[in-house]
């Protein structure tokens, strides 16, 4: 449950590098794994969807630089809150809106309406609404980076509301052109898991269990072709993670249990395989797009590919033999990456210098539950497991407690903090000045000043549910538990907190 909650938090805030990933292999890359036990040493297997709570307050808001949009599931409306005036306006959308996203240009908000099997496209300024019908019973929505497209599909592991019954497909998807409000229904592979959009905005890739659907967005209607990832459809390993080359020519697919990497040509639809020593546990594209890095925890190896020429010579680097690092995260003002694991209770991490290929291990107060880096790469934020490392000193004051550590990636100054409860969400401002996190059953918002590594505790009027940062600002917002809706805005530079309560009532204001 928490895995998915955090996943949506992270997807919404776009603050930390990396994205939530499946955790079948234990290491998940950045931000993916919040295990209940806090690192038992075993790969987490609690990948169940969140509890089915009919509670609109649990919905993640979406933000632009000037507005926060909150979907009101039970009222079939979307509330727009202006910042800083906190003026509230409400628009009617389809039935049971369960997800709201905003486009990168801040001009539109889009809802997935599970009750009416539609998406609503709202003009952020005027709140004019255009409803577009989609295929029935979908519960997932992904927005393209350029904001021109949304893809919807059914995910059996995700929370679902408002099923209209009837035939249920596990292979369908709906592609909606946000600009023209046109719908293209399509059949993709079995059990679609995620969508990748090429940087040039010309293709969408739907990652399914054993296939990759490539959608040409330049065609009208968009053209789809399916690429099988395995020669043996009967025993095809499920795709876990996909990265695209910056030029959009190649897709790199990491599959569960495979010992190689599938390299898909997006130009001729061919699939080649690159053999790796052992099961790869993470796959990442460097920020400069110059390398695809694959980590193999069991083989204690790290592999590098040239994304423009993936079949050129494979770079290979040995990892410390006694440290089962399974994840990689490119981070820092210098060309460097962080190596770590969330699959075992390892209380250290490593810094990989990309220029010299040297690897330096550094200690931590506790094992890692999740990790993130600020957008500027200057700061590393590590949330630790509740469980201690097997060989932890008995005098370690962090034993038996939740904890987090801020690390300055320039000089590796760090400030480990003992926490009163489990962190449930975090986000950072776009300029990397401030980080924010909330904790379970704590009516506080913690603000982190990355310059000084010092935290500031901000009391909230009620328990926070979701946390985000208004794009381009240092203002965090925390939606909270309140039957009529409550959201607080915290401006970190001025340390000012403003709260609006009861905005759900606005939906019923009548004229």
């Amino acid at each position: 449950m928490r895995l998915i909650l955090l996943s949506s938090l992270l997807a919404g805030c776009s603050a930390y590098e990396g994205s939530a990933k499946d955790s079948r292999s234990g290491d998940t890359g950045a931000n993916g794994d919040w295990s209940d036990s806090g690192g038992s040493g075993e790969a987490p297997n609690d990948t169940a969807p969140p509890e089915q709570e009919d509670d609109f307050l649990k919905l993640e808001p979406a933000a632009t630089d000037a507005y926060v949009f909150v979907a009101n599931t039970s009222r079939n409306t979307v509330t727009r809150i202006s910042v800083p005036s906190l003026a509230v306006l409400t628009a009617d959308v389809g039935k049971i809106p369960t997800r709201v996203v905003t486009t990168a240009d801040y001009k539109k908000a889009i809802t997935l309406n599970e009750g009416s099997d539609s998406v609503s496209i709202l003009d952020a300024e005027t709140l004019a609404v255009t409803d577009v019908p989609i295929r029935p019973n979908f519960n997932r929505l992904a927005l393209s980076n350029d904001g021109h497209w949304v893809m919807c599909w059914y995910d059996p592991d995700a929370e679902s509301q408002g099923s209209s019954g009837g035939v249920q497909s596990f292979n369908e998807a709906s592609l909606v052109n946000v600009d023209t409000a046109t719908h293209t229904p399509m059949v993709v592979g079995f059990n679609p898991q995620s969508v990748k959009w090429t940087e040039d905005g010309q293709k969408a890739l739907v990652v399914s269990d054993a296939s990759l659907a490539v959608i040409d967005l330049t065609q009208n209607p968009p053209d789809i072709s399916l690429i099988e990832l395995s020669d043996d459809p009967l025993n095809a390993p499920a795709a876990e993670e996909v990265e695209l080359s910056p030029d959009g020519n190649w897709a790199f697919v990491r599959q569960f249990g495979a010992t190689d990497l599938a390299v898909v040509s997006l130009t001729d639809r061919s699939v080649e395989r690159i053999a790796l020593g052992g099961n790869p546990t993470d796959l990442d594209l460097s920020p400069d797009g110059a390398r695809i890095t694959i980590v193999s925890r069991d083989a204690h190896k790290l592999y590098n590919l040239d994304p423009a020429d993936p079949f050129a010579a494979l770079g290979e680097l040995d990892l410390p033999a006694d440290s089962p690092y399974g994840s990689v995260l490119f981070a820092g003002p210098r060309p460097q990456a962080i190596l770590y694991t969330t699959a075992t209770r390892l209380d250290r991490y490593a810094v990989w210098d990309l220029l010299t290929d040297s690897i330096t291990e550094r200690p931590l107060v506790k094992p890692i539950q999740t990790i993130g880096v600020s957008p500027t790469g200057g700061s590393l934020l590590i949330f630790h497991t509740l469980a201690d490392a097997p060989d932890a000193s008995s005098s370690n004051p962090f034993n038996g407690h939740w904890a987090m550590t801020q690390i300055d990636l320039t000089d590796f100054r760090e400030n480990p903090l003992l926490l009163p409860a489990e962190p449930e969400g975090y986000s950072v401002s776009d300029d990397g000045s401030y980080g924010f996190f909330i904790m379970k059953d704590q009516k506080v918002l913690e603000s982190l000043i990355f310059d000084t590594l010092l935290p500031v505790t901000v009391e909230l009027p009620s328990l926070p549910v979701y946390l985000g940062v208004l794009p381009g600002t240092n203002t965090a917002y925390a939606s909270q538990e309140h039957e009529l809706g409550r959201i607080s805005f915290y401006d970190a530079p001025t340390n000012a907190l403003d709260t609006i309560t009861g905005f759900e009532l606005n939906a019923d204001i009548s004229h």
Binding site: L484, R486, T501, G502, F503, L505, N506, I509, S510
Partner: protein, 511 residues
């Protein structure tokens, strides 16, 4: 035929034994000492005879012709020229032309009719098309518009003839008598007019309606709950920030609803408890709130609606707005504190009243707060104990630092009016069974008695700056006091007009 028969019938006594000196044996009083005062004089009800009299400051007595109806309630219109009179009369449902008198009509055929009359210059100028059961009135600043609705406090005695629409408020243009019925929601609780006179805010069950007074229609309705099973009863309302916001407290909840009448949005401010009294401090444009259950005063600013609380030694349940000071006090037994408070700075000055405050008023020049006080429930010893068992008058200086003055009263205060004249502040105090009016110089605390012929029962200020003193005379006695000269004009015996009761069924011929 005029007869005293009803006295016999109803009182079961010999009318010739009627004692005019003490009113014995009368089922209803000959006259009501609670008079209404307008520019043209005092209006007096004669309940027993069912008559309405006007008594001018020169002592001239005239009857207001209500066409046989009996005045039940009088409300002065804020224009100081008009009076709203709820009047009733008996109707015999039997059309037999022989039936002329009440006693001729069978008991089961007797019903009561009612109407609302607009009285001006001693005459009914118009009978208003307002349900006579609507006896709660609110007026705009200049009295040109009255809003009438059912008084929640009198619902037990309301008689419904046919049907009664409880979802409407009736607005009356008091100059023309034009009436506008506006549906505002069930069970209107109170009506408030905006300062500019363009809108009225009507509090009803679970909603607040804003009525546009140009079109006489509801412009917007704010819900107070989203759950139809939950009943939210508004308790108090103030208009803040020049009428932009309506702040609504509700019964049994610490939530304060902030209704933005311009942006048409709702916010909720969570207070520590439900406010017992609140007002907008005109100087600082902040709302001051007290609660009888908490020892604090809350100040709500009107930009971000943040609350600042200040601790008190004792809880308060009432507030008076002064120019320099806001005065906080408690009218419940057992409390003695009175606070001078500056909302802008939080400055608090505490005064101690010798006995519990019954009623508090500020002088026109804001130099003094004057309180009538009840005997204390806990009796001390010595001088304190002596004071405790008496009624008292407390004088609290506001303009300078000085000790309050506590005066012991001979009897229970039945009236207190304050006079500011040429820099001299006086309190006019009437006490039960004391045949004198005390003129108390508030600066010195000295009192000068002004002898009255009889014991006073009430004092009412009139628009011309004079005071009308009702005295304990069975046949009626009113004195018009000019406080500047101490001249008094007395009218007596006017209630003798009510000794004879005409049982003729009024308006029988017109029916």
């Amino acid at each position: 035929m005029r007869t005293l028969l009803p006295l016999l019938l109803l009182g079961g006594c010999n009318p010739w034994n009627f004692d005019p000196n003490n009113g014995n044996f009368m089922d209803t009083a000959l006259w009501d000492p609670n008079v209404a005062t307008l520019n043209d004089g005092a209006y007096v009800r004669l309940p027993h005879a069912g008559k309405l009299l006007r008594i001018t400051p020169s002592g001239e007595v005239t009857e207001v012709d209500l066409r046989g109806a009996s005045p039940q309630k009088m409300v002065e219109v804020a224009d100081n020229q008009s009076l709203l009179v709820t009047a009733t009369w008996q109707v015999c449902e039997d059309d037999d032309p022989k039936i002329k008198r009440v006693e001729d009509c069978a008991y089961d055929d007797l019903t009561t009719a009612a109407e609302l009359d607009l009285v001006r210059d001693g005459k009914v100028v118009q009978t208003l098309d307002v349900p006579p059961q609507f006896t709660a009135f609110a007026f705009n600043a200049n009295g040109s518009i009255a809003a009438a609705h059912l008084d929640p406090a009198t619902t037990a005695s309301v008689v419904v003839d046919g049907l009664l629409n409880l979802t409407a408020v009736v607005f009356v243009e008091t100059v023309s008598g034009a009436v506008h019925e506006v549906p505002v929601g069930f069970a209107a609780e109170s009506v408030l007019f905006t300062e500019d006179g363009s809108r009225a805010v009507v509090l009803s069950r679970s909603q607040v309606a804003v009525v546009d007074l140009a079109s006489w229609a509801v412009s917007v309705t704010f819900p107070l709950t989203l759950d139809p099973d939950t009943m939210v009863t508004p308790q108090d309302v103030v208009l803040a920030a020049g009428g932009r916001y309506a702040l609504v407290s509700v019964s049994g909840s610490a939530d304060l609803y902030v209704l933005d009448l311009e942006q048409e949005s709702i916010d909720l401010v969570e207070l520590s408890s439900s406010p017992t009294d609140m007002l907008v401090d005109t100087g600082s444009d902040q709302t001051v709130m007290v609660s009888a259950s908490r020892r604090q005063v809350d100040v709500l600013e009107h930009e971000f609606f943040e609350v600042e609380s200040y601790e008190l030694d004792e809880p308060c349940n009432a507030i008076l707005d002064g120019d320099v000071w806001t005065v906080l006090y408690n009218t419940n037994n057992g409390y003695h504190d009175l606070y001078l408070f500056q909302p802008e700075t939080g400055l608090l000055v505490e005064y101690r009243a010798e006995n519990p405050i019954s009623k508090l008023q500020l002088t026109g020049d804001q130099r003094f707060a004057v309180a009538t006080m009840n005997p204390d429930v806990s009796i001390g010893s010595g001088v304190s104990g002596f004071y405790d068992i008496h009624y008292g008058l407390g004088i609290f200086p506001l303009a300078e630092e000085a000790d309050p003055v506590a005066l012991v009263l001979e009897g229970a205060p039945v009236g207190l009016e304050l006079v500011s004249n040429n820099g001299v502040n006086q309190a006019l105090v009437l006490m039960s069974e004391v045949d004198a009016l005390l003129r108390v110089d508030l600066a010195t605390g000295t009192a000068e008695p002004l002898e009255l012929e009889l014991s006073p029962t009430a004092i009412t200020s009139s628009p011309d700056g004079k005071f009308v003193i009702s005295q304990d005379a069975p046949l009626g006695q009113l004195s018009f006091l000019d406080p500047a000269t101490s001249n008094m004009v007395t009218a007596a015996g006017f209630a003798s007009m009510g000794l004879t009761v005409d049982t003729l069924l009024p308006r029988r011929d017109a029916e």
